[in-house]
């Protein structure tokens, strides 16, 4: 095939792939009468922020946006700390149950977390009896489950990065009088930062995108809903406010998109590092 033919085909495919996102942003800026017109057109001459205003005021999207951010950021912070320590233990130390732990780590990644909604629902219910913040209807319950779901992969992936740091470096640091604690946080931690970026992005996205657990845990506390759930509230069988839905979808997609574009190079090298492990 001639190269320009192939390139034309690739560009057309790229346009098709990007079209849903283009349509989302376009519809978010369209005035209402153009959205519910029987002859939709792929442009607008009267862009407006009405839909965003409706999403933010009527549906209180700002609040849900903050809830989603809070959950995702706490999950990322905790998962960095915990997975870094665990990955270090699993690569730098030899102990008897090490291989068993590694295999279990791989196996739990394959457990469909969706199947665990029933037991986790009851667990959060009883946790909530003693510690309300981590119980049903509170953001804490979402933090807990997403932390647990993101850890196995994060530990698995960081292993490769920790292993790539030469052991001699630790010996040198020890000779220079650095304590184990200082070596851990001032030498090793910065060196595995690329790996931490990759795992953090994935943890963030998992927590940010979650629909099932938000739906299961946040039953009656409307003020504690997260974005995916709030967006779902808009969708009604007959009378959809598509403008506000598309504005909400745009608000929900943009942080992830920015995140992805910013770290895509590191993400790819991070994933490659994990595979090489």
């Amino acid at each position: 095939m001639k190269r320009w033919l192939t390139e034309g085909l690739v560009l057309i495919i790229a346009a098709v792939v990007a079209f849903p996102l283009f349509w989302m942003v376009l519809s978010a800026f369209k005035p209402e009468d153009e959205i519910i017109s029987a002859d939709p057109v792929p442009w607008t001459t009267r862009p407006t922020l009405d839909s965003f205003t409706r999403a933010l005021t009527v549906a209180n999207f700002g609040r849900y946006f903050m809830n989603s951010i809070i959950v995702a950021l706490i999950v990322v912070a905790l998962s960095i700390l915990i997975s870094f320590l665990a990955a270090t233990a699993l690569t730098r130390f030899r102990f008897r149950s090490r291989t068993t732990l590694l295999i279990m780590l791989l196996v739990v990644q394959m457990v469909p977390v969706e199947a665990l909604t029933v037991p986790l629902f009851f667990l959060m219910r009883s946790v909530g009896d003693s510690v309300p913040v981590f119980g049903l209807n509170h953001l804490g319950s979402l933090v807990l489950v997403h932390l647990a779901f993101s850890l196995p992969f994060a530990i698995w992936m960081l292993r490769g990065f920790v292993a790539a740091v030469p052991v001699e470096l630790e010996e040198a640091a020890t000779l220079d009088g650095a304590s184990r604690f200082r070596f851990l946080w001032q030498v090793l931690f910065p060196l595995v930062a690329p790996g931490l970026v990759a795992t953090s992005v994935l943890s963030f996205i998992h927590a940010w995108n979650d629909f099932l657990f938000a739906k299961t845990f946040i039953i009656s506390a409307v003020e504690n809903q997260t974005l995916p759930l709030a967006l779902q509230v808009f969708v009604k069988p007959d009378q959809n406010d598509w403008g506000a839905i598309m504005a909400g979808s745009t608000l929900m997609t943009i942080p992830v998109l920015i995140f992805f574009v910013l770290v895509q190079r590191r993400l790819v090298s991070g994933l490659a590092g994990a595979v090489k492990g």
């Binding site: 192939t6 690739v10 560009l11 792939v17 990007a18 349509w23 989302m24 959205i35 029987a38 002859d39 939709p40 792929p42 915990i82 997975s83 320590l85 665990a86 233990a89 699993l90 130390f93 102990f95 008897r96 791989l106 196996v107 739990v108 394959m110 457990v111 469909p112 969706e114 199947a115 665990l116 909604t117 029933v118 037991p119 009851f122 667990l123 807990l144 489950v145 932390l147 779901f149 850890l151 940010w208 995108n209 629909f211 099932l212 974005l227 995916p228 969708v235 069988p237 598509w242 839905i245 598309m246 909400g248 979808s249 997609t253 992830v256 998109l257 895509q264 790819v268 595979v275 492990g277």
Partner: protein
């Protein structure tokens, strides 16, 4: 450091992870199995009615239930269509990407990155809007205003599958592209010098070298597509009219939280977990063969 000291420090480092994973993954898995053995309904949850041990009763109930078999079949077929579609689109585009200039490739990758990063709920609603019976752009272009894509069982499944492929092919494309790029140029040159045709090179040199990667993305796709929840739930409004678009995941959720049959929901969860762990065993072996060291 002594061996014992190493072990002690290691466990100190591992303690937070073990605590979280034990409490929020291992314990719930145990609970899942336990709940699936009981008659666990609304009276037991809120009314404090005594639990009745059923043994394998919930499973017997499932296996004798026509709907369960229907849903299981649908889940497998839906996952199969999604996996095959994802792999074909991903592989085709990965190959095309090696034959174009950088700026064209970057355009494609950027578009794919957008699809990849769109949250499932947002992606589902966008597709619903694009394919809306009255205000959707697709019906306008095709000239079939008023046609509902989500009403008929098969068009609804098709629409969801298309959405799933849209957001999951980028992973396959990027991974395969990286795999193709990692093949040393000398190998391909040697094949060309030996007089191998382009097709022969692709079939006998590139494909065998890519086999480990293809295996990994295939199994990864199977695992993902087998447990699609959000797209089905959002796009078919909880499993379609009279539950005809249900897949196992949504079925378990509906049994547990809509019908308050928590025991039955848990049993479906166990069935799903066992099926996926079976696939995982293959995954482990595939990983080991591709050189991953435990």
């Amino acid at each position: 450091m002594t061996a014992k000291g190493q072990g002690r420090t290691a466990f100190a480092y591992l303690a937070p992870a073990l605590l979280v994973l034990g409490g929020l993954l291992a314990y719930p898995i145990y609970q899942l199995v336990l709940i699936s053995l009981y008659d666990y309904g609304q009276e037991q949850v809120s009314g404090g009615a005594p639990l009745e041990f059923l043994g394998l009763g919930n499973y017997q109930n499932l296996l004798g239930n026509q709907q369960f078999w229907g849903v299981l079949g649908q889940t497998v077929a839906f996952a199969a269509v999604c996996v095959v579609g994802t792999l074909l689109v991903g592989a085709f585009l990965a190959i095309l990407a090696t034959r174009v200039r950088t700026w064209v490739r970057m355009t494609l990758f950027l578009a794919a990155l957008g699809a990849w990063s769109t949250p499932a709920v947002a992606g589902s609603t966008i597709w619903l809007f694009l394919f809306d019976a009255n205000f959707g752009f697709v019906n306008e272009v095709l000239g079939i205003q008023g046609f509902s894509w989500t009403f008929d069982k098969w068009t609804a499944f098709g629409l969801v599958a298309a959405q799933v492929i849209w957001c999951s092919f980028p992973f396959v494309m990027v991974t395969l592209f990286a795999g193709i790029k990692a093949i040393p140029g000398e190998v391909l040159e040697a094949a060309a010098l030996d007089g191998a045709s382009a097709f022969r090179t692709a079939w006998s040199v590139t494909l065998p070298l890519l086999k480990p990667i293809i295996l990994v993305v295939t199994i990864q796709s199977i695992i993902w597509d087998f447990k699609v929840f959000t797209q089905i739930y959002v796009m078919t409004n909880g499993g379609g009219i009279a539950g005809r678009n249900l897949v196992l995941n949504v079925y378990a959720y509906q049994q547990a939280f809509a019908a308050s049959e928590y025991g039955l929901g848990a049993a479906i969860g166990v069935v799903m977990t066992v099926l996926l762990l079976g696939i995982t065993m293959f995954y482990l072996r595939a990983l080991r063969r591709s050189g991953e060291v435990l």
